[in-house]
């Protein structure tokens, strides 16, 4: 195989891996949008908050330490012990469930039957609140997340691919990050689990019912408020997975909440109401931006990854506003 072709394959592979992470964030958006018609602007910040909480628990950080120190003049920082990753994950999940309950109690409950735009505005407020709250609770410094997952390039893969090139060619194999592969595996497991849950359990059936028709769901005895809590808790779970994957890759920092913006073009591509759409959209954007950067980037001075996704989304908005898989309800956003 020629070196050029091998390079293209490498770019596509890496694009797919990045795309999986975009898909993970987009998945959280779709879940909430389907169940309640709310475009949850806070989804990205939820990922950040979940990752912060996970790291905080893991490092045994005292929540609100800075605040406590400022008020009481103490000098507290950590509890002095660390927590195993698995335990910290479970605690972080608990916090996200609690968050879902609080959101339902304090926000959704009071905004039932309001216009979608009002709910959207509420989630913008929620996003900024949560960002500040996360800052206050865990501090704003960049934290490294060590979940015990292997990191760095795979030498095995490099050696294998080196053999693909023609004899004597100037080629040293493909680079692929092991963590990315793990993230992709986790994403696949997550999607399978969500599908099984929604297809084969009572609550899953209720979730689909509520997504379809609120009034009918009420008439068969489904409590909308309970379902909203469940949906937000699941979205919180997805946010935790997405946040910890991003966090493990590039550290837990506040710019993490900006991935949410990348999820927007993903949703425009895939459609706001389709879970397969969120996945395919994420992969397309991931591959598209890497390929574009690789081939077109050098001609225009690079850094195309920052805007490529949005331009692609704009083109989609013009020619297929409902996305690849979505229902025609995009005008609600």
């Amino acid at each position: 195989m020629g070196v050029g072709l091998l390079n293209t394959i490498e770019v596509i592979l890496n694009g797919l891996m990045t795309g999986v992470l975009y898909s993970l964030v987009a998945l959280g958006f779709v879940l909430i949008f389907k169940a309640s018609g709310i475009f949850n602007y806070a989804q990205g910040v939820m990922s950040l908050f979940a990752a912060l909480t996970l790291v905080g628990f893991q490092n045994g950080q005292i929540p609100f330490a800075e605040l406590i120190n400022a008020v009481f003049g103490t000098d507290l920082h950590t509890f002095g012990f660390t927590m195993p990753a698995i335990l910290a994950t479970i605690f972080a999940l608990g916090v996200m469930v609690l968050f879902a309950i609080i959101v339902e109690r304090l926000i959704l409950k009071h905004l039932v039957n309001q216009e979608p735009i009002i709910l959207f505005m509420a989630t913008i407020g929620l996003a900024y609140f949560l960002e500040g709250f996360g800052d206050m609770m865990w501090g704003s410094d960049i934290k490294t997340m060590d979940l015990g997952l292997p990191q760095g390039g795979s030498f095995w893969f490099e050696e294998v691919t080196q053999g693909w090139a023609a004899e004597g060619a100037d080629y040293w194999g493909m680079y692929i990050d092991v963590l990315d592969v793990i993230a992709a595996g986790v994403a696949v497991l997550l999607v399978i689990a969500l599908t099984v849950f929604s297809q084969y359990t009572k609550t899953g059936r209720a979730l689909r019912a509520v997504a379809d028709d609120h009034q009918a769901a009420l008439s068969v005895g489904i409590s909308l408020r309970y379902i909203w809590v469940v949906t937000w808790a699941i979205a919180g779970f997805v946010a935790l997975v997405a946040g910890s994957m991003w966090g493990a890759k590039s550290g837990v920092q506040f710019s993490l909440s900006l991935i949410a913006l990348k999820a927007l073009p993903v949703l425009m591509l895939g459609g706001f109401t389709s879970i397969p759409g969120a996945i395919v959209g994420g992969l397309l954007i991931g591959v598209g931006e890497k390929l574009f950067e690789f081939y077109v980037g050098p001609m225009v001075g690079g850094a195309t990854e920052n805007w490529f996704a949005y331009v692609l989304a704009l083109i989609f908005l013009v020619f297929r506003p409902q996305g690849l898989f979505g229902d025609k309800i995009i005008e609600r956003v």
């Binding site: 359990t201 609550t203 059936r205 689909r208 028709d213 009918a216 769901a217 009420l218 005895g221 489904i222």
Partner: protein
Amino acid sequence: MSIQAAEAARDDASYAAQEEAHGIDPRRIGDVVMEMKNITLRFGGVTAIKDISFDIREHEIRAIIGPNGAGKSSMLNVINGFYHPQEGEIWFRGEKRGPMRPHEIAHQGIARTFQNIALFKGMSTLDNIMTGRMTLMKTNFWQHTLWKGGAEREEVEHRRRVEEIIDFLEIQAIRKTPVGRLPYGLQKRVELGRALAAEPKLLLLDEPMAGMNVEEKEDMCRFILDVNDEFGTTIALIEHDMGVVMDIADRVVVLDYGRKIGDGTPDEVRSNQDVIDAYLGVSHD
């Protein structure tokens, strides 16, 4: 004896007399299951229902009829809990009902269908009818998520009941079809199936035959009568088609402009001058 019990006894006595007089088979029709007392419902300045009282007795088919805008659907929505009346009391199975949410009322055993079909369009017929059994499922979130604690047994058992309903309604052929693709008449039948699946103590049907052709109407009539006969389900239904109502209902309430203008057996109602006026129109001079 409490006041309520005394009232109930008096009502029973008067109804026994009424039944005898009107030739209703008293063996089939039982006690009052639902009683609406002086219900008044307003939307802002508009009074949709004004001081209406009536009752529904066990095992009977009770029809609510009236011209457009008479308050029939509002009445059903009051029973079902979508609307909360400003005045009046609702008694269900011997207990006064407090302010309840619709899904809580569903858990009490009141199921309904809608005038403009409210099915879960993306789900199959089977899944739609399974949602009807939601109120009867006992396992909690963790049990059925982990598929433990009898969750599987429960699912199988409910599935069997749902299959029976599917057989009963003769919709075996469309079990796996997403209901959004079905023709109107069949959708109405699936919706009836979903309501039946809850094994309701009171079944509310909002214009079950609206928009159907003659054949579909006959089928639906047959199903309603069979449900009432075989399961003994108490049914309250709204219908426009006077012919149909007079054929299948045991007793009829007639509403006009939010007021009750007639109440009794089909024959009584048919000969009631107010009802005739409301339906045929009369000059008010």
